[in-house]
Amino acid sequence: RGGTWQQGECQIRSINAREPSYSLQAEGGVTEFWDFKNDEFQCAGVSIRRHRLQPRALMLPLYHNAPILVYVVQGRGIYGLMISGCPETFESSQQTEKQSKEERRQRFRDRHQKIEEFREGDIVAIPAGAAHWAYNDGDQELVVVVLHDNTNNANQLDQNPRSFLLAGNPERGQEQQQGSRRGQRELGNVFRGFDVHMLTEVFGVDEETARRLQGEHDTRGHIVIVEHGLHVIRPPFRRREYGREEEEGYYGGNN
């Protein structure tokens, strides 16, 4: 751990209880930031932010330069952590021979990496550089507080917290809140920095889809509303009723 106290960062004369000093508004919620340049945060080598997601709001995929620890203050939701190379173990079942070609065409079978749920009181640990997303599937606002451990050994960049967005257009959200056009082209997701032709080549898609990846005209920000709710493959969560676990149904074919 890179101790900032060794560089004289911890010569603190007073400590204050602090409120967030900056926020980033988006379609489906808001992220509030505590100023990481305050002495206490610099000394501890950390930064703090708070996300508020409305019901049916999706935090778009992103990764950070440092490991993060999330505490769920209120609400519930689901999240996915994508580690490149890990298997896609959540998958739709195989087609049966009885299904017609038409049925097969209509019913797309997806497979993806593991999805987990989180709820009030949970701590979630996410390694540096690991891409993740979150979705509020509850009926109340989802509030999470996030610690970024910027001086952790896993971060070899400087102590500034950095978020690399894989979708969306965060600056647009900020503009809406601040009513300023300054910096309109300064922030974007990582695909924005790649050439459109390069994206068509590496993803094997047309130019229109490649431009969608870049999200240049996306005005929703980094948290978006999923109009009809998010449909993903996930196991049913067991419910407890009066201390008794509901039985899960099992069925299968003969060998």
Partner: protein, 181 residues
Amino acid sequence: GLEETVCNAKIRENLDKPSRADVYNPRAGRFSTVNSLTLPILGFLQLSAARGVLYRNGIMAPHWSMNAHSIIYVTRGEARMQIVNHKGQAVFDGGVREGQVVVVPQNFAAVKQAGEEGCEWVELNTNDNAMISTLSGRTSVMRGLPVDVIATAYQISREEAERLKLSRRETIIFSGSGRSG
């Protein structure tokens, strides 16, 4: 463990043998790595290395390093390379050729496509087990995302999302047409 002392530790490994490749695509090239698992002394040094060879127009998948900076030295040929920071800005977009060095900071997204002559490079990483995460391909982040998340995130149909997710079946070394060069 006398055999494990620093006095007689193994400190050499040849990365250039094609038969040693960790990733190989007959149409696009190969990629070999050496880390503390294959050369234990690298655990002390906290360093690792990789060797990449791209054939004509071959593409190294867009990716970021999760835990290391990468210092790339081009040993032969040339490639077009793009490096993107956390603001979505291309901090490098240009050609690299034999004898040049490029630093790719941790977490910065990078892609390279070889030119007509192909491209070979060695990359030295500041972690003894450097790990990359790819944006496209069979083992990429995009593959790990549910189709509904992709469709919502990029405002595209489920069919387009499916195509985006599945169209590239290679892992990190892709064949390319050269149109983007």
